[in-house]
Symmetry: C2
Subunit: 718 residues, 2 copies
């Protein structure tokens, strides 16, 4: 029934865990008993109330001295279920005498209550001091695996769902970040004059829980609820552990080196085969051929066709096996039912990658068909992109391996989409905004290649400076998080996660599980991995476009310089919304700005130069903003006037920017242009020169700057 | 010290209030004592613990029977401050005997504790049953006046600032909406198997507090904290009342009839004077003249100039007083220092409105100058627009009374801005998007005419269907709220409130005050007034453009029909974000949709018709969506394919829409277009035909539909 204190730890920790699990499994249980769970906590350094069983008054005193006063004493008897009714419970016993008398009293009361009961003894338990009630727990997510959770305890927190998650195991720093990661974080810092709780002790509980669930795969859910967090220390008053003994098949993952080697051949091929190439207009195999040719791809193109000798001027082959040279990637443009056989040939030819445009697999319910091709690919070590995709673009190679229209504006943004429709939106937007792109990739059913493969490729691809991904699910969230964590240290990773709606109440037997909204996990894990999250399709596209244009800021001090006071207010709001820090203007700098602006203008921050000013006022203040070391980023608010028309403004900004660049000064500059339609051309000109500028919006330029900052912070650069 | 129960109410309620205030004022206090505050509560039907003073055991029993068992008894003696130490407190007395003995025991204990003490008697108080702790309070906002507040009690709620506000007084319905208006609303509905609190009783407390503060202007802050809300009833355990006896000057407000009469002459003038008209290019008075003339204004134009006889072909006058006919509005294009004298002449000429373009008043620190012109205007009953504005447009009269460029796309959206820069953004966006506009108005310093004047004008202006306003502050938030509440019943009112950043901790002596973030008040009051709040400049502009285009939905059932599954997911996310209800698809309708889509397409909602479908599939499913009575609004997701190109899609949607319109069926339709750049033209074509369509974004079309719904709900139409 109870844990006997074992100060000598005669049993090794791993043996304890094994014994507990074996017992539970043997008894067909999927949960540990409370005493078992407490033993587990003891082994992992998770503080629980100390307790023991005494069979004599003197033993009770020894135990009490061991656990520390005050103590609680309770009768232990299989027949006595209602201990309080039997007067078998005493609380707050302060010293040895009280414990000694308490033991006798409890035994006597129990005998009187039920003369026939077996009296095993009296449980002596450390009496917990109350504190701030928190919950520490763990769940097992189908995509992310073991997660550790932290939130305040109590019913109100369940109502508010104020809980934060991290991938297990976590470091001390990550655990501490969880304490700040809940809405009610102030509660832990001491309110109404109270003292702060022991952050280190609480972090240690979180770290140890995360280590426990990481090391013991069978633990699928765990609750410490409540944990009493005190000024000094933290103790879990109640522990629940849910087990699952079913074995899991680990996902097949090549090594990172292998991924990069294969992805490089697929994304930057020297030779491409088009399986199902066609000379007939309107066929997918025809579009793919034309896009390869008209896109300007310089490598070998091998059309594969059962009958044709020549397609669009290229020698055709019956099978990839007939092609004399090496092939790096095979693009499939044939119906689903023919894919398996052709893929087998691709494998025999040792082609490392297959781009599967055809639909008709898992997305239409044909799960077996998809499993079949995955098995073939695994056998031959062929990586699969798709099926059910538009293909992909890699502009540095002039490669349009897709049936969509070619895309040729080269640049530094790599984009991917799980959905074909979103892929088309990416292409249309890119063309319309002249967004410089290195790659656009369709992932479709993600039968094999997924976001983490792309991330490892783009990490080492010098043509890519930012990765922007649309995804609906992550087949292996943990692998994605690991890849993102590594890649985002070097290059910004932006993710639009579609399907944010909570999956509804999940069948969970733990509090932690019930609190785990699907999106909250994505939110926390993506942030933990250094990912910049896009909240909308437009955000994804604008971040992809703007982030590579802006230099990385060297500090947090943002200054707004505006001709329109009204824009200044909205730009300030946008700074708050996007987590940017408006610099508190030092008085010397304030004075320096004031020299350039009218007496009724406002220095401070925003610097309001007022509306009727000539170009020189904009120019002088922007120059000052760039020159002064204490300022790290500029937000410009332009107001269309006769005295400083839009294109004049654009030119002067570009001039100052170039002048400073020549002196080695580069800072991110974004701009919001308020005015008549001429501001559209001015914004476009500014963008072309590295100033992220938009007409008719104060929020978008600041959001792009905010995204750059979010990445720079996560990467430790600012 | 204590309130004697007065069941007969010998004193009239108003007399009680007056007596309490007079006493406080006479004693130089700015707060009521706890017993005074409780008397106030008694008068206003706010439940507080009943209590009374007993000087004998029998009197104590009578009192206890009056307040109801159980009771608390406490010694009352000026000399005994530590009542518990004196053993002068008893709690939980359940019957007459216990009270009788309790009285004797307390008196005896007190005598023993301090034989020299004056024993006034024993206070007998109703013992409160605990419940859910909530706070009900009131503050006085400089703009909105008396507000009533509701939130959960306790320290956690202070940390989370989970509190909601309404203008006082509130109706029972509004009070009930406050209970649902906090994040933690679930707490009141009973959690973990607990029972719900008494919503009616709690609403009554809120209603009565709101009535109290409304009727007693001197009460500037009030806290009931905590109020114990139980399954049956609610009682305020503690009451704090803060007073301010300083008199307030009410703001000058003409009657609504007068406002409308004057605003109609100003906005739809038959004759306009331009004070400071000029023939010289580059002068503001020249731009105003040209805009009036070139804009096509058909009324009389009177240039006013000290010397000229004729300006741009119009006879000029030295003063408005020299003009023979009536003048409806005078546009000022002269420096600030000449405004006062010219305004006096405008007043003498009985011109009802002056449009003050000049800057150089309060915005540059010249507060006296502004006060001077306001006084002149008030003397002559002239309404002032500005100063420090670009002027205004009223397109149905071809009137461009501004120095900016003319605007001529007539339509149903009226816009206003407090800032000139934002005004220019409105003009540029409108022109770029071909937004149909009835009016664009600059409000600038708002020395007189403000948003509420405009609202009353636009309410009765048949050329306006939606009002969209940018504002930084509301000089009289209460008047605005009243106007908005009235107008939004007929026409949507959209507001972009700039300056959302909390003003920081305000010096407040109440909990309610400390919890009142400035923006939270705006949020709640704007919603209470039926206003649709825009979160960004783009939202303001897109809502103004889209709301008049969409018919008002007749119910909440929204259906998504999409060619791209990926768009469907993002559109669903956007529905959640914008408070739209995706209809649960009835099985017969599901079957009807399935008839048109491929077997692997998904019916349900979204209806995923899959990407490779011909125009007829879009057409059939959209027709079904419009024809079926149970569906109230459609969201379309288009995916660019060869088989259904963008313009084909646009045409088919317009065709079905027109076909249904001929049958009398009109429902709001919005569309998100994913594809190559041709989708831009398709979106534009759709918009021109009443389908709110956007390329490269899933969120904006749904946000516009959401805005239409928000208004329709507030106006009671859906």
């Amino acid at each position: 029934m109870t844990t006997v204190i074992d100060p000598l730890h005669t049993e090794r920790p791993t043996d304890v865990v094994r014994r507990l699990l074996d017992t539970a499994k043997a008894e067909g249980r999927n949960a540990l008993t409370a005493p078992e769970a407490k033993q587990l906590c003891d082994v992992y350094g998770i503080p629980v109330p100390k307790e023991g069983l005494a069979t004599s008054a003197e033993a009770a005193v020894t135990l009490a001295e061991g656990v520390g006063f005050p103590v609680v004493m309770k009768i232990v008897s299989p027949q006595i279920l209602h201990k309080t009714e039997a007067r078998g419970v005493l609380v707050g016993l302060q010293n040895a005498d009280a414990v000694r008398q308490g033991f006798e009293a409890i035994m006597e009361n129990a005998r009187a209550y039920d003369p026939g009961a077996d009296l095993i003894g009296v449980q002596v338990q450390q009496m917990l001091q109350s504190g701030v009630e928190v919950i520490v727990g763990s769940i097992t997510d189908p995509s992310f695996g073991k997660l550790v959770a932290f939130g305040l305890g109590g019913v109100l927190v369940e109502v508010l769902k104020d809980i934060t998650f991290r991938l297990a195991p976590v470091s001390r720093e990550e655990a501490l970040s969880m304490l700040d990661g809940i809405q009610a974080a102030e509660m832990l810092k001491g309110v109404r004059g109270g003292k702060a709780v022991d952050h280190e002790a609480l972090a240690e509980v979180i770290v140890n829980v995360s280590r426990l669930v990481d090391e013991v795969p069978e633990i699928v859910e765990l609750d410490l609820n409540p944990v009493f967090a005190r000024e000094n220390g933290a103790t879990a008053a109640d522990v629940r552990v849910v087990l699952d003994f079913a074995a899991r098949t680990p996902r097949y993952r090549p090594s990172q080196e292998q991924i990069v080697r294969q992805m490089n051949r697929i994304m930057k091929p020297e030779a491409v085969a088009v399986i199902g190439a066609s000379a007939e207009d309107g066929k997918i195999g025809n579009s793919v051929m034309k896009n390869l040719i008209n896109g300007g791809y310089k490598g070998e193109i091998y059309p594969i066709h059962p009958k044709a000798d020549n397609i669009l001027g290229y020698r055709a082959y019956k099978s990839v096996k007939d092609v004399p040279g090496d092939i790096d990637v095979a693009v499939f443009a044939i119906p689903a039912k023919f894919v398996a056989q052709a893929l087998d040939e691709v494998g025999e030819k040792k082609i490392p990658g297959a781009v599967l445009i055809p639909s008709g697999f898992a997305e239409t319910g044909n799960v077996e068909g998809q499993e079949e091709i995955v098995a073939i690919a695994r056998k031959h070590d062929v990586r699969l992109m798709g099926p059910n995709i538009y293909g992909f673009y890699y502009t540095p190679k002039n490669l349009c391996a897709t049936f969509c229209t070619p895309y040729d504006v080269k640049g530094k943004a790599a984009l991917s989409s799980q959905s074909g429709g979103i892929g088309m939106a990416i292409i249309g937007f890119s063309r319309s905004a002249k967004m410089g792109v290195s790659a656009i990739v369709g992932l479709g059913n993600k039968s094999d290649i997924d976001e983490d493969d792309l991330l490892y490729f783009f990490e080492q691809d010098d043509n890519t400076q930012v990765v922007a991904m649309h995804c609906e699910d992550l087949k292996d969230g943990r692998a994605f998080a690991e890849a993102a964590k590594q890649v985002s240290k070097k290059k910004p990773v932006v993710v639009l996660k579609a399907g944010r709606t909570a999956l509804g109440a999940r069948a969970a037997s733990s509090h932690t599980g019930a609190l785990a909204g699907n999106d909250r996990i994505y939110e926390d894990v993506l942030r933990q991995s250094g990912v910049v999250r896009a909240r909308s399709l437009q955000d994804l596209l604008q971040f992809a476009r703007g982030i590579p244009v802006l230099p990385t800021p060297k500090g947090e001090n943002v200054v707004i310089i505006t001709g329109a006071g009204g824009s200044g207010v909205l730009l300030s709001d946008a700074c708050v919304d996007n987590g940017l820090s408006l610099m508190a203007m030092p008085s010397d700098l304030d004075a320096a700005f004031r020299k350039f602006i009218p007496p009724f203008g406002a220095a401070g921050n925003p610097v309001d130069i007022t509306g009727g000013e000539p170009p020189s006022t904009y120019q002088n203040t922007i120059r000052l903003g760039l020159e002064d070391d204490r300022i790290h980023a500029l937000i410009l608010g332009y107001w269309h006037t006769i005295i400083t028309p839009p294109m004049v403004f654009a030119k002067l900004v570009i001039e100052v920017k170039e002048e400073m660049k020549a002196k080695g000064i580069e800072k991110p500059i974004v701009a919001s242009l308020a005015g008549d339609v001429q501001v559209e051309e001015a914004a476009s000109r500014l963008y072309d020169h590295g100033v992220v500028a938009y007409p008719y919006t104060t929020e978008t330029p600041v959001a792009v700057l905010g995204a750059k900052y979010k990445w720079a912070r996560a990467a430790g650069l600012v």
